[in-house]
Symmetry: C2
Subunit: 271 residues, 2 copies
């Protein structure tokens, strides 16, 4: 598209955007995925485009849940495949989780394109492609409910980053422990999940991996202590407070733009 | 894509999204426009997806400025053309403003596609297409600075809905009175403009038109009174307060989702 100046105040956000557009051009990302990314950008801006303390805490709890799980599964959609393919493969190795392609707008072409990207990133086994998606999630209609009987269907813990609200709710109702990454702390996904990491997926996935490496040799008892101390509702509440504080700070900073309000004086020149 | 259930809590937002995707498929909307729309969706959600009192006030002041102007111009980009073509034509008639196609990612094909949509919507004259964009805005590079010498170049008041921050700043530095519609009250565009309507463009444009009809027979003195009473900085401050209040209310509502935080109890089932 165009060169991103390295000193641009939001260069990292622009680089992530370019990656997503590249994914769109490769057929990995859906049109709705571009719009969803924009919603994420807005909330990332509001949280400060960095990992907050509550998000790091949630990443730690997510790592503990994945390590305790008997059948952890990582669900990958187009945006996740475009933004963090290597990071997903690394996390799946550290936590011994399976990877399943899980699309809202499912087409065979997109499934295969996502599979290729994950294989290039080092994945050995990828569930949820083609005829493998023979099982269904109850309460969801059409192609949105297709899952792999070796993956999400039998999983006890599922990590579903950037998931749709209806599906998150359906997964909870199936009795799954749901971990999500969602920049909007008020979304239905954020509210329905058991563990919600309110952070950009490009920061959250490596954070879970790092935490999992630290927790890997903990006893089951110690891991349970990590879970016991966590309250998703309180964590989301902290994120909302962070956004409100930041809105206040940004508003104070904003008003230093010169002459922004001198409309009447300027209009006099027209006469 | 899929049927929108009429009772969906955010049906209107989904309908607007479908219109934008249709515009993308017609070659009117750019990929970056889809992402930008997502950012708008997030902020629209935060303001409550309806026109607020400060936004209506700004729309009234915008109408007064356009009526006082000697050379008002409405700048139209891909998203605006996809979402409100008829509303733009109506506003241009009521305020006797010229319409100019003004693109961030300028290609002849997109210019022509936007021109067609506006003509179908009843526009008689459309500036800023093809060789007509022979003038340039200082301080902006390449195709982003092209403007029509009969339009934005000589305008005293420009309405630039959904505009980029760099360009808004450049227009201000050229001495234009800048009116914008931007859902993010903290964006550089929102902060640099003289009059910022923090509202969805589908609501804001008809609001300006309605206000212009009411003010049309006002004397120049009365119109100036409308401008004199307005402070964009204060108006933006009110919008930020509205968002903060709504975050508080949504957070309270959100916590009623059942069992969202009982991670520890649920994890015990795995063992």
């Amino acid at each position: 598209m165009f060169e991103i100046p390295p000193n641009h105040p939001r260069a990292e956000s622009l680089r992530i955007r370019e990656k997503l557009i590249e994914g769109f051009e490769k057929g990995i990302v859906a049109k709705a995925g571009l719009i969803a990314h924009g919603r994420g950008e807005a909330f990332d801006y509001l949280i400060g485009e960095k990992t907050t303390e509550p998000a790091l805490e949630a990443a730690k709890v997510a790592a503990a849940a994945m390590l305790i799980a008997k059948h952890p599964v990582i669900s990958v959609n187009g945006n996740v495949a475009a933004l963090v393919p290597k990071e997903i493969v690394e996390l799946s190795k550290v936590t011994e989780a399976k990877i399943e392609v899980n699309l809202f707008y499912r087409t065979r072409e997109r499934e295969e394109a996502i599979k290729s990207v994950l294989e290039e990133a080092g994945a050995k086994e990828i569930l949820g492609v083609g005829e493998a998606t023979s099982a269904t999630i109850p309460e969801l209609s059409s192609w949105r409910r297709k899952v792999d009987p070796r993956g999400i269907l039998v999983a006890d813990v599922v990590l579903v980053p950037l998931e749709d609200g209806d599906r998150t709710e359906a997964l909870r109702k199936m009795g799954k422990i749901v971990i999500t990454v969602d920049l909007n702390p008020l979304s239905r996904t954020a509210q329905w999940a058991n563990i919600t990491i309110v952070d950009n997926v490009v920061r959250a996935i490596p954070n879970i991996t790092e935490q999992a490496k630290k927790l890997k040799n903990f006893s089951s008892g110690k891991l349970k202590e990590v879970l016991k101390s966590f309250d998703n509702r309180k964590n989301l509440g902290k994120m909302i407070e962070i956004i409100k504080d930041r809105l206040t700070k940004l508003a104070e900073k904003g008003i230093y733009i010169p002459e922004a309000s001198q409309i009447y004086e300027e209009m006099r020149r027209i006469e």
